[in-house]
Symmetry: C2
Subunit: 109 residues, 2 copies
């Protein structure tokens, strides 16, 4: 999937990538006034170091499995599961298997 | 799937409902400060009349197909596709086949 920057009213392909996981990179789908949506691609064993964003976020695992490391616990997120995180929540993400996820971030003015 | 009100850090099942589509209702997954997420369930031929919300929204079709009726056009949204709508955009939704979708709404203070 090429990088897509959506216009309102434009349908975007967010199917699982399948074998293309191995060659795709994390990409922004769109960033607007209130919302930013990206597709995170993380291959097995790769990780994002702990970080936080000001607004609330959801992580919707589309394929594979991700370990989301929170202050209080690590949450395993499998394909077909969605996680909601409070604003400013520190979180790291590690791929337990080749994975992609939709990440939706509430933007703050 | 029973009505779930998520706590932050709690994984939620958002798999396609499959045959349970026929008996499930639209349900809120959570509503917090910045984001509200619901699973819309709409059987073939059923519709939501045109309406708008203040914040931006995304509609992620999980199964079936939906016709999203905007002022300028009707957009067919198939399973695995995501649509982004601007705040205050009038939109109706009609199910072209039995469908469910994740609807994420950016809440305004």
């Amino acid at each position: 999937m090429a990088l897509q920057h959506a216009s309102p009213g434009q349908a975007l392909d967010v199917h699982p990538l399948g074998e293309r996981l191995l060659t795709e990179k994390t990409s922004a789908l769109f960033k607007s006034l209130d919302l930013e949506v990206m597709r995170l691609v993380l291959l097995a064993g790769k990780s994002l170091p702990p970080h936080s964003v000001q607004g609330e976020i959801t992580i919707h695992c589309l394929e594979g499995s991700l370990d989301v490391e929170l202050d209080e616990a690590t949450v395993r997120l499998e394909a077909g599961e969605l996680l909601f995180l409070a604003g400013n929540a520190m979180h790291g993400v590690k791929a337990a298997s080749d994975a992609s996820a939709l990440v939706t971030i509430a933007l703050k003015p």
